[in-house]
Amino acid sequence: MATAGAPARTVAPKIVAKGAQKRFPTRRGWVTAVESVDLEVAEGEFVCVVGPSGCGKSTFLRILAGLDHATAGEARIVPGSDPKQPLNAVVFQEYAIFPWKTVLANVAFGPQMRGVTRAEREAIARAWIAKVGLERFEDYYPAQLSGGMKQRVSIARALAHDPQVLLMDEPLGALDAQTRAVLQEELLRLWEETRKTVVYVTHSIDEAVLLGDRVVVMTAHPGRVKTEFRIDLPRPRDLTTTSTPAYAALTGAVWAALRDEVRAAMAQDAEEVRS
């Protein structure tokens, strides 16, 4: 069941964050987005990060992705044995698939940037498109797809890049509840197949407990790691997992840890509005 504190390590971590901090200058002085994050993620581990909005969890993910730099400390992915394999691929909340490319060209984008030949990269792309169930939509443009289909394309694009670490920034946040449930099951299935190392940022406790091996709870702004929970629910999981008592106990525990932080964040927001 839930055990607070870092788990014992036997292998070298895949992701190391030590005192990762992000501050940026504004007209009213320095603003701290991420105060100090310490986190280690093992190879093949699925870690979910939850926290109140504005706690800097997305910023932390962007630092890991190399899209942003830490102003102090570090947050990095430990390179694997194959130097050609990309370190990471991000699944963005706003999908961020290119509207001017077809589904096929979008999914083939990563290999194309690495100089993989057309035939080869399209074969890779087709395989992943089939795995997310979009075979018939290869030649469609994103504008012709629903939100759920767009996010499937985004996930397929990230997996076709074959990264060492998959970084997901609230990927299902913009979807309706039913589409979200379907995609959660698909993510579980894909993860069983690939066993990638995943860092998954979400604001949904239910989602974090359903998907993750570990749930990291962050404090309200400025963000640091408050506590973490090991999720030892048996795999493979699916939506029936959510009706087990163990699942209920875990979500309850995570919520108990998060509640005070959400209240703190709301109080900060109110302060912001007043000033």
């Binding site: 190399g66 990309p86 990471n88 706003e94 001017w100 490319k101 984008f109 940037m113 504008a143 012709q144």
Partner: protein, 342 residues
């Protein structure tokens, strides 16, 4: 929509319309209150058309709406025709459309011996000239045509101005230093009416009355519009696409080719469309002032010699040119951005 309206729904406004028009002619109201008559007539036409639409089957609605779009300008021309032939409009300044059409036909088929020009270059003479004078003869035919003169200046100037416009706009959009250096200057020059720098251009070119300054003034007009909108297009790209490009390992060239260029393209084409319209305005104005061929010259010449039907025919040609070139650009736009039409 209520589909069971009585006949009176369209009969009443139609009757009012007929009565208005009749009264207009009977009491000679047109000269004093033409605006009131036209207003009443327009409202009656709209009411009648709406009432008719209400009685139509749904499957006929599309055809009916197209008929309205086409029918309105035809009706307008018919009214013009009636007013001009009855003398309500002075036919000297507003010749009836049939006369304008005849003048247009005359311009197309005939050769102006005085100016040594024709409208479209008498293409039916091509085989004959080719036999007697070779390609030089065909070239002379192309050179005598108003249409090819204007078209050449517009297309030439547009191409010469738009291509560097896209490049400079891209540079301004991508590089902050370039943007800070050029933005204020470009915006200032952009608002300057380009026709005002035509005299300078005439001094710059070795032949002030040749094609050089005319093409240059079109090119300059196109350049600033295209550069400014390209810059806006590049800056308007959603940063999340740039992040995605970077995250998937795109290098500088790949970033440009796969993210920035397609991302900016919609706004670039917006700029191109505006630039094309501006190019037409500028070239007609230049041809008014300083040209012995071109559609602008044609309009101005027939104004000077008071042959108004041919002047209107010239206006019609400019209109057709604008519509044709815009259609061409839209075709290009659809080819360049297949993702825009779902």
């Amino acid at each position: 929509m209520n589909r069971a309206r009585p006949t009176s729904a369209w009969a009443v406004p139609a009757a009012v319309l007929a009565a208005t028009l009749a009264a207009g002619f009977a009491f000679d109201l047109w000269t004093q209150a033409w605006w009131a008559l036209l207003g009443v007539a327009f409202v009656c036409v709209v009411l009648t058309a709406e009432a008719v639409e209400g009685r139509l089957a749904v499957r006929h609605l599309g055809a009916y709406q197209r008929a309205l779009a086409l029918g309105f300008p035809i009706a307008l021309l018919a009214v013009w025709e009636a007013l001009a032939t009855t003398g309500v409009l002075n036919p000297r300044w507003f010749p009836p459309p049939t006369q304008i059409a005849a003048a247009l036909w005359d311009l197309i088929v005939s050769y102006d011996r005085f100016n040594r020009t024709s409208l479209i270059g008498r293409p039916w003479l091509v085989p004959e000239r080719l036999a007697t004078e070779g390609w030089a003869g065909v070239r002379a035919l192309v050179d005598e045509a108003h249409l090819t003169a204007t078209l050449g200046r517009v297309l030439g100037g547009f191409a010469i101005g738009a291509a560097p416009g896209v490049l400079v706009g891209m540079a301004m959009g991508l590089n902050r230093t370039v943007r800070h250096m050029l933005d204020a200057t470009m915006s200032a020059i952009y608002v300057l009416p380009k026709i005002a720098i035509f005299p300078i251009l005439m001094l710059v070119f070795p032949d002030p009355f040749g094609e050089g300054p005319k093409i240059a003034v079109v090119a300059i007009s196109a350049f600033f519009l295209v550069a400014i909108s390209t810059m806006a297009g590049v800056q308007g790209i959603d940063p999340v696409y740039l992040q995605a490009g970077r995250n998937f390992g795109a290098n500088r060239w790949q970033m440009f080719r796969h993210v920035i260029l397609p991302g900016a393209l919609p706004i670039v084409f917006n700029g191109l469309r505006l630039a094309l319209g501006t190019a037409l305005i500028v070239i007609v104005a230049v041809e008014f002032v300083r040209a012995d061929r071109g559609v602008g010259f044609l309009i101005f010449y027939y104004w000077q010699v008071l042959v108004t039907p041919k002047m209107y025919a010239g206006l019609f040609v400019v209109m057709a040119l604008g519509v044709g070139l815009t259609a061409l650009l839209q075709w290009l736009e659809r080819r360049a951005m297949p993702w825009r039409k779902g």
